[in-house]
Symmetry: C2
Subunit: 273 residues, 2 copies
């Protein structure tokens, strides 16, 4: 792997570039982004060069798509003619089935391997990028076919993912999207609902602040997630509504004790204890 093209040099793309360098990558890192972002990324030393896609992609051994999901979908429809035969194309989109389906239609010259690093922070943009953003985090890889993950360029990319400190987890795109509907998309909607319902009050303790932090997230990020994981999110909302209907019936009684115990056990399991 000599040349990496990062399309979308924001927090994730920029952090991946810095993480590659820190892990010892000595090849060339090219950025494809808006002019303003490229200038910023160049001045921060995140990329070596900023280029239009049509000039950068023919040089790429690895293409890393780290734009908003809908922009990734557009790119996948456009880039195939520019790709070097046998390159690896991957992405960082937080839903996977729509992206896998679009890639299977349009990417033929390169191998596409879906990806979702579970990392982030409140500040966005290249200026917030950091080499250790992925350290200790799960990095989901979703091959179109199980064998794809064993192909040489996929193995090499997976090796670099491990060198960033992330923990690769291979699963099917459909399973990924079903799980994140419950672990990420539903929490976002609950936080938004809770904040939208909050009275103006001085009676906000730390619990409410914890639970309404996600409500500060920008809609722009979520529009694409909602659009590309609608069925799973619909099911998650439905299941949550059913759960709350049950709580409405039982919360006064001792049956609620079992719910608290099961929830506490699950919360401990999520924390690995």
């Amino acid at each position: 792997m000599q040349t990496v093209v990062i399309a979308g040099v924001g927090l994730i793309g920029g952090s991946f570039a810095l993480a590659l360098r820190k892990a010892g990558f000595e090849g060339r890192i090219l950025g494809v982004s808006s002019e303003r972002t490229l200038r910023e990324a160049l001045s921060l030393g995140i990329i070596d060069e900023g280029l239009p896609a049509a000039e950068a992609l023919p040089r790429a051994d690895l293409v890393f798509l780290s734009q908003p999901i809908c922009r990734i979908l557009e790119m996948l429809g456009e880039i195939d003619p520019w790709l070097k035969q046998g390159c690896l194309v991957t992405d960082a989109g937080s839903t996977k089935t729509a992206i896998m389906s679009q890639a299977s239609k349009h990417i033929h010259r390169g191998l596409f391997l879906g990806g979702h690093p579970l990392a982030g922070k409140e500040t966005r943009g290249a200026a917030a990028a950091e080499a250790d953003l992925f350290r200790g985090r799960t990095w989901v890889l979703t091959p179109a076919h199980p064998g794809d993950i064993q192909a040489a360029p996929a193995l090499e990319f997976r090796g670099w993912v491990e060198k960033t400190g992330a923990v690769p987890v291979v699963m099917e795109a459909a399973e990924h999207d079903r799980i994140v509907a419950l672990t990420s998309h539903l929490p976002q909607l609950l936080s938004t609902a809770l904040a939208a319902m909050a009275p103006e009050t001085s009676l906000a303790g730390p619990a409410l602040l914890d639970l309404t932090r996600l409500a500060l997230s920008p809609y722009e990020v979520w529009r694409d997630i909602f659009a590309t994981n609608a069925v799973n999110i619909g099911h998650a909302l439905e299941a949550c509504i059913e759960k709350l209907e049950t709580y409405r019936e039982i919360f006064r009684g001792e049956a609620m004790q079992k719910e608290f115990e099961a929830a506490a056990a699950a919360a401990r399991q999520l924390r690995g204890r």
Copy 2:
């Protein structure tokens, strides 16, 4: 105010004792609690003396009830004969109408002023008590009659509350209970629901950990809250279910943008920015 009796020398009661001392209180602090708790509180220097209620209460200028809500309700039914004429009785229960109603029936020799310091932490018990627990926190005071807050012992108690670093907020018990159903009790139920629904997975990001922290809370604390604020919690659950039904209809479309903007504005307001 010469002598303070703290009934229930746990995290809140113990912290109030330490906060009084730190604020310069030079009188006597008596503890009423289980034998084991009294021994612990004595060895930690939190109280000066541990006594049965019947011996401690006749000496009290201030009675601070910081037990679980249902134990406070029981105490209010029992203690009046032991009270010194004109003393102040207050509490730290996290729901207020049931407690105010019980006090109005049974407390005649002293003045009862409801209280709810919005403070706490994950560890319970006297050993976790700290003098600065209330610093910067809201301390709700719920007088049975507006004039009660102007009575000399109430003014003196309020002065000590301020000296702990807390910010007293006077409101009606019914209003308090309506608000905390949305700001505290609903968040707990949402966190419990979310944890109970969480799949066993490595795909748990920081968002899910934030939102399931409350699910670790012990049921024993919540049983009493659910029992004494059932109507408001029922309404809060109903409103939340309606909100989620709406989200289920609109989350794919642009109408969701307005919800995100309103929720973000509310979340910023809760953070005072």
